[in-house]
Symmetry: C2
Subunit: 214 residues, 2 copies
Amino acid sequence: MASSVVTSPWTPVQDRAQVRIKARINKREAVLRTAAQVFNEKGYLASTLDEVAERLNVTKPTLYYYVKNKEEILFECVRIGLTMLQEAIHDVGASGGSAADKLTAAMRKYTEIVTMDFGMCVIRVGEDPLPAESQQKLRRIKAAIDLEFRELIAQGIAEGSLKPCDPKIAAFTIAGAISWVARWYQPNGDLSVDTIADQCIHFLSTGLYQPVTP
Amino acid sequence: MASSVVTSPWTPVQDRAQVRIKARINKREAVLRTAAQVFNEKGYLASTLDEVAERLNVTKPTLYYYVKNKEEILFECVRIGLTMLQEAIHDVGASGGSAADKLTAAMRKYTEIVTMDFGMCVIRVGEDPLPAESQQKLRRIKAAIDLEFRELIAQGIAEGSLKPCDPKIAAFTIAGAISWVARWYQPNGDLSVDTIADQCIHFLSTGLYQPVTP
């Protein structure tokens, strides 16, 4: 009888390392996300890492295995939120349809992201409490997002799907209207993110005023 | 010859008190306004009363004759800004015209105020760095402003000058779009407050998208 190959009941060394790395990434993500929730609820100044640790059922020293300090946490939360926004507007730009269609899709994604932990942290807390160098890094991402919005609007004006306007003011008006959602949205309130997105998009695209019949 | 009445070359005691009170109010206002400018430029955390004193050419102890501390200054700056916004929306409500006309006037005033020192401070800094009790006082004013906006929008829907919509989401969309101006407006930039107000009002009232011809 030929000897059969025994499958080792032990996880291969390489896989064990993978599992450890994944667990570490997950735990770091949980620390950042919980911190974002605390920042969003209480503001950055009033938030403590003690509370973050408590919500995760660990001691504060355990947090320091995953993050350096409160400033690094805020930097990462805002960076992740901004990266989500940037990817959203970028994906929309690469999709088909008119510039107006793309803008609608971008407004919807933007509304969704600013009602999530990291996206909300971009608006409710932002980069202001951070040192100048960190602020600059984050503001570069913001400027890139803003530029993509302006270019999309300029495209829409050129192709005729959007009305002639100043793309800079239009981009800021949209960003303001939707970013503000992060300030007033209540996760357990009576308005769903979908309803808010629908109405915001409707106002910004067709306006609040009844057309005056001549 | 009858003796003529001599006009005393000295300021009457009562008037002297008045002059002193007025000078004190002016100086306190200058301290608050300068502090608002520093907060708006650098953020609350990075701002120091040393810098406020320096810009006013006085020593820091002189400031304490007019204000208690940095927290009281921020509270007053935000309170004054919010009071300006509240008076604006209130005045507009008392004026004539359709609700849509009143909303246009309110949006214009709101844009003007958030590009001024105290109004800008409401948006750029706000009440978040303050103790809970102060936050509550300021949030009560915010809620009152928000209520006036919603009522004006509800009136407009009822009378037919505004499209049927959710007044809460509409009020927040307007507030967001215009408040955001405080974040990106540059006093020495190429866009005047008037141009920004015109375009914002245009977007919000008639929309960005070209109507689709059936």
